[in-house]
Symmetry: C2
Subunit: 226 residues, 2 copies
Amino acid sequence: MLSTGLPQGAVPKLERPGPLRERVYEALLELITTRALQPGQHLVESELAGHLGVSRQPVREALQRLNTEGWVDLRPAQGAFVHEPTEEEADQLLTVRTLLEAEAARLAAANTGTAGITALEELCAKGEQAVTDGEVDLVVATNAAFHAKVMELAGNVVLAELAGQVDRRVRWYYTPVARRRGKQSWIEHRQLIAAIAERDERRATEIMRAHTEHTRETYHRRERDA
Amino acid sequence: MLSTGLPQGAVPKLERPGPLRERVYEALLELITTRALQPGQHLVESELAGHLGVSRQPVREALQRLNTEGWVDLRPAQGAFVHEPTEEEADQLLTVRTLLEAEAARLAAANTGTAGITALEELCAKGEQAVTDGEVDLVVATNAAFHAKVMELAGNVVLAELAGQVDRRVRWYYTPVARRRGKQSWIEHRQLIAAIAERDERRATEIMRAHTEHTRETYHRRERDA
DNA sequence: GCTCAGTAGACTGTAGACAAAAGGCAATCG
DNA sequence: CGATTGCCTTTTGTCTACAGTCTACTGAGC
């Protein structure tokens, strides 16, 4: 037992910077997803290293990880290039996402208690408020949080990890789309919550499947309009 | 046009050693999956480096990749440890595998032509032969090849990549199990081929789902027997 | 005899240096 | 004038060295 009078939560383990490669990884991912680094662009290690104020090594390690996760292509003896998404790949990725999210919805319906329902409703309310306020960035963030919460309630760590990666890439490809469908999206979220609350696995699966499929449709509609 | 009289296929691009980190990665993965490196074991970089005849750097990079793929746990400032699979994790992994394989079966049913069917039948025949001959290792390898072929016929690269990783880990956890169910497994494979040939997506999905679920049951039965 | 502080060892995290390979450019030969 | 070949620059791939940190052991004090 600690004899100090310090409250437990107040000293959260002496915040340490964490491995440098992690921070470089985060930074690069941020730069890629925000389009600061454009698809196809050649990433030079020494350049990035100088720009971030670290040596080449952490940059290398971050690039390797980004490579295995599909964000950059690492051509041997030539360097790293920001991955260029193709139509086909985006479609395939969305198919997988639909699959994972639908399963998460099913598991969430099977496991979730009242506490989880409440949390989902709060996120939903927050998102709807953001839509009416027209705060686009907040809408997107809350949407991501909502899906993450469903994934958490599913209680499958492996599934969550995979879905996390797929989701982030999908969001990268479909950024312009996400901003288009605000209101309808949250109506569907409400339906999903209802299905989970009633522990109706089949309905939760179907609603989530339809929900993510709508994103695909919106994308293709945008394609035709453009 | 080349004016040399060299036959095109005879010089297959001058097989090059490939990046060192790749080979280290392959080597370590082999050592882990074959249980030469046991779960929980502490992997010291310099030790591995000396053993493989390379410097620490490629070993580091290989370990990082193994970490992101879930084979080793990388505790900060302490080193790499071979991941110790838990009951829960194995179960979750199997759930995800069922999901991915079932979807692959569905897509394969939607896309596959006669050529693909033939290839599957050949693999199936090979597997059945191996079962009757009692060549356990060949059975396992052919089984993996069969599933990989289905995944290829599905034509979804993203799905294939995810499934490849999940499959390999599942096979690691369930190695003892895989050797138990030989004959029944290939009967189910035959049913799957029939469903794909008839382009019956729903039936293909269900057969594959049942097929992978049987693995889980066999595992739990083994648990009780032990 | 037990606990705790101090110290030594080992390992990782990071930086810097060197060698090898690939691509581009210019000069030269047909 | 065009194609080819050789050189040069740039960038990666690998190795070695150093600093920070954690662990485990030893010895002294209670």
